[in-house]
Symmetry: none
Subunit: 228 residues, 4 copies
DNA sequence: TATGAATGAGTTTTCATTCAT
DNA sequence: GATGAATGAAAACTCATTCAT
């Protein structure tokens, strides 16, 4: 397994310039380093010393900004949440379009996200929400319920317009997103296994087709696709 | 005598369950106790002492059967896998039926599984596969690829029979199972949050309807349902 | 300054017999070692590692019996208090005698105590009651108020019998004991200084004479002394 | 910016007292702040950061004037000693008067001192003389031996004049001052306990009466008092 | 000089693991 | 085998002290 400080060239090279003063930058540098390590190894298996090393600061410096390891983790969690809030804006702004366009776009977007480090952050949140119960709450309130809420109301509107079949909109949201989420977790967990990983790009495209065929009333999803 | 008894650390876990002293059962009792605790708290946050207490044995006894904590975890992982293999037999035996029957049954089955402790075990595997890379491999080889494989070939056969639309069968499998898997993880992670949790029974029923409509060629899924 | 492990011959000699099992004895051995070091250096300047070394156990063993350093200190404080309670019995049993006998005996007793480690324990309590507020309370309730209370009521009885001059009995108690206490503290604090330290034996004898002359009505304290 | 501000450790000590920025005053302001904190918490439990905050300067500034924490403590000790030297002058100038006047005045003076912060300084010296052996020496040479010396020679002169009974003058000094010293320590240590604390004013008056009766030859102490 | 962010040696504390009984 | 007291390496955390600004 790879030790830390392997892919952070600016750290190891040359004599470490000591005692740089950059109070503004420090906390976020530390949070960023911690985020990487927590995502790689989880909370318990990450040592403060490793975080310090990756952030390029002394062990004690961490405690200048974060009194305990748990506080550091909470800051990391907040950063993750905040980062995803931005992403939400982009999604939200698209949800006014016709549902037959929204769904493929949303799924394609999910496939793109899967190429970022978001999947490993999701894995982190799934793992550590056991030990940090409020983590699940924050993540729910600030991210999950938003995505789900926006999608759900878009579905409701489409149902009211008679475009979609009836059905609980929240569950329909699961029907739409679920396969992408599962694929993303699958890839994340199985990345080390030399198994055939699902191509999320293709999954997005194919699932869009299937789910639209299942959801859209009287519609030839093929036509819908063609239009977009 | 025990003047300091009030200073001794009190464990969070309940009263020690003194089980029947059956020598042969020891290892599996220990594994069972460890399974519960690992699922509750994760590998890192579970102390061997807690496992011992819950198993009703002395700390040292754990090491008689499992040389290290990691070995204990591997035994736990093996048990989880084995447990699910049995479940697989049941699923497999049903996959010969017409696909319009298989899919609703499979989803209903997933909804039932969600009521067991399987979801927390899945969470455990998602969490700890970071630290135990072979865990992901074993889990993949023995469980996931089996389920996915069986379902995939059922889909292939149905496609060959002209019952289903074309499409990558493996990705179709994700379209089918993904929403249930996601709902199950959602419930697991958000159980502590007073949020509206998806009803997996309903999700299974509704998703079956939607996905069949999306997948089945020329078929009125309603008819399919009626037939079953 | 003398390093530890200097006056504990049985510790250093020979290969340390490891892993001796003496659960009964351990806590008190540790408390005893801690007591010595706390008395020598105070709470803050005593390292747990030193306590462990002096007690002849591993660092971790301390934490088996005392979850925190503060808990260890509290156990030490309790031991000190308990030890002095025994001493109190001896004093109490003598207080029924005529006051002219009681006072010289009490002062002589104080001079003897001064030869034990009690003075350094008193110093410890004076020092650390700042950081451990309940320490002062316990010490007051269990020791000080007892000594003072017993002496005070002996004085009251003597006043009622017309043997002693009037006056607040509690303050008279200070007049009696105060010089011995002060001398004891003086010796404790100044022991390292090559100053002339008061001989507490002589102080006890002389102060008895003086204070009796000041307290006893119509009495020739010389006669009182002669009788005893 | 200061996103983590809420994670920063909040100090127990009050709001930073921003004092006038008078360069010359700096060292003594620092010493004063340190004096207060050392007296409140002792040397070990006082952090340099606390001292800086209370002195209204930056942490680094302390080290401009005092190379180490121990040096700061020594400066504090010197200040205490110096402060008391002044007090000594006042006492000394009175010791020429008749002993029956000197003793009550001295005791009354002690009762007044008890209302200042001197008792907590005495406690500090008692506590820290363990770690700072020269502290005891300085304190002895510059304060204690002076008081004791002056009082002792006053007693000697009175003995030579035939006013007082025979006896070791130094021990007589303990008989005189001891109760006040003890009462002062008692109040200091037990101030947090809701116990009955001795009234030092009354103790001074009553002990003066008692001790004079015990010390003065052929004298009615009542007359002596009346004269003063 | 004054500052306060940064440091790192030193302590406390944890807990998997050992081993005498 | 079973036990649980004891261990000690490893981790979290503290704080006097340094030094770039």
């Amino acid at each position: 397994m790879s030790e830390e400080a392997d892919n952070m060239p600016e750290q190891v090279s040359g004599p470490p310039r000591r005692r740089q003063r950059r109070k503004e930058a420090r906390p976020s540098e530390i949070v960023e380093a911690a985020l990487e390590l927590f995502a790689e190894r989880g909370f318990g298996a990450t040592r403060m010393e490793d975080v310090a090393r990756r952030a390029g600061v002394a062990k004690g410096t961490l405690f200048v900004y974060f009194p305990t390891k748990q506080d550091l983790f909470r800051a990391v969690a907040r950063t993750i949440t905040a980062g995803n809030l931005e992403r939400l804006q982009a999604i939200a702004s698209n949800l006014e379009r016709p549902i037959v366009e929204v769904i493929p776009a949303l799924l394609a977007h999910a496939a793109i996200i899967a190429e970022t480090r978001v999947p490993s952050l999701i894995r982190l949140l799934i793992s550590e929400s056991r030990l940090f119960p409020d983590l699940a709450r924050v993540w729910h309130d600030e991210v999950v319920s938003n995505v789900l809420g926006l999608l759900t109301s878009a579905i409701e509107r489409a149902q009211e317009r008679g475009e979609l079949h009836d059905g609980d909109p929240q569950l329909i949201a699961f029907s739409i997103i679920g396969p992408m989420f599962s694929g993303l977790i699958f890839r994340e967990v199985m990345s080390g296994v030399d198994a055939e990983l699902p191509d999320l790009q293709k999954l997005a495209a194919q699932h869009a087709q299937v789910i639209l065929r299942g959801l859209v009333k009287e519609a030839r999803p093929e036509e819908a696709q063609r239009r977009s």
